[in-house]
């Protein structure tokens, strides 16, 4: 049984969500209700931000320092 499509995550309009050109940088981030943060296309800058938010997170620390 399929779930109704209109119950999916809210998305911005196609115009606003146009994929960035290759000279722009972008990352996608999703914060779950339990506070967990999921990231796609993690950039060095965003990794640094996430590391600053939670310096104890062992999964983000090596990524935050990888680009330094």
């Amino acid at each position: 049984m399929n779930a109704p499509e209109n119950e999916g995550p809210q998305r911005v309009s196609p115009e606003k969500s146009r994929p960035p050109g290759p000279t722009e940088t972008s990352a996608d981030i999703l914060i779950l209700s339990d506070g967990a943060i999921l990231v796609h296309n993690l950039t060095p800058v965003l990794a640094a931000v996430l590391n600053a938010i939670n310096p104890q997170d062992p999964s983000i620390k090596p990524r935050a320092f990888a680009a330094r």
Binding site: A3, D28, T43, S59
Partner: protein, 298 residues
């Protein structure tokens, strides 16, 4: 062939005699790109084997034309630690139709993004390497469907750069032969543990046979990292058989297990995909990997 001679340095790295300083792999990529363009007249680069002539506007499952487009090119640090920072170049379009695709807008649309400018991207890749990037990653979508452009771009990459081929492992023998020896690492997404889930969620037949054939080939021809994204509700039907097969057929292979699924794109078409992977599912997935002595990497 050109009568090119191969010159070995003291570390055993070969370069071309006609293009000194250019490694053989880069030279081979340039030579094979014309062969790859010719292959588009009867396209069988992926296992769909559509047989269309992409040079005259016919399209197959992937809807790709003769020239690649790129929807993202940037330094990223979200991939495996041994690969990052990586300059990641994402080609538009794909031969699978995964309803949960995190980049569905670009991966389902081979016309998305911008025209590939090889010199510009090569310059940006070179700059990224000079600023500390460890690798250059080709991904999609699925880069296999754009082999002609991919090979041209690979030929233009910095000579010493480590190249990563991130793929869904749905290539044919023809495509693999064109890729042989050009990429240092194959990073393979092994998504589904059975053909039923593959057919239902990605509209691809014979998935297990094709992806396993590609994995066994890649293990013999390059470094290999197998990535699996744990999907909610698919622990036993997908991750378990994937893990068991890897343990049996590719013992010691590097496995990157990810539990960061989120319900993107058309995930809501499938009731079980309408949520993130739970902590319990993630814990169980990693426990299974440990029980099978998989070589997990971060």
């Amino acid at each position: 062939m050109s009568g090119d001679l191969l010159i070995a340095d003291t570390e055993g790295h070969y370069t071309s005699s006609t293009r000194p300083g250019v490694p053989l792999a880069r030279r081979a990529a340039a030579l094979r790109s014309s062969e790859a363009y010719a292959a588009l007249t009867d396209c069988r680069l992926c296992a769909h084997r559509c047989g269309v002539n992409r040079l005259i506007g016919q399209v197959g499952v992937c809807h790709a034309g003769p020239h690649a487009k790129v929807f993202s090119a940037q330094v990223e640090v979200g991939d495996e630690l041994e690969l990052i920072p990586t300059f990641a170049i994402a080609f538009s379009g794909c031969d699978l139709r995964c309803d949960f695709c995190i980049t569905g807008e670009s991966s389902w649309n081979a016309a998305a993004g911008e025209t590939l400018h090889i010199e510009v991207l090569a310059a940006r890749a070179t700059a990224a390497m000079s600023k500390g990037s460890r690798t250059i990653m080709f991904l999609g979508g699925e880069p296999t469907i754009h082999l002609p452009s991919v090979l041209e771009l690979a030929a233009a990459m910095p000579p010493t750069a480590k190249l990563v081929w991130k793929t869904n492992a749905h290539a044919t023998v023809q495509a693999r032969e064109l890729l042989d020896g050009l990429f240092d690492v194959w990073l393979v997404d092994y998504k589904f543990g059975n053909d039923q889930c593959a057919s239902r969620l990605a509209k691809v037949p014979n998935y297990s046979r094709v992806v396993r054939e590609n994995l066994l080939w890649a293990a013999k021809h390059s470094e290999l990292i197998v990535r699996h994204l744990v999907m909610p509700g698919h622990l036993n039907c997908c991750w378990r058989p994937v893990a068991q097969w890897l343990a049996a057929e590719l013992p010691g292979v590097k496995v990157s297990l990810r539990a960061s699924f989120w319900p993107a794109w058309h995930s809501a078409r499938h009731v079980e995909l309408f949520r993130a992977t739970s902590n319990d599912e993630s814990d169980e997935a990693f426990q299974l990997a440990r029980d099978l002595n998989l070589n997990l990497i971060e």
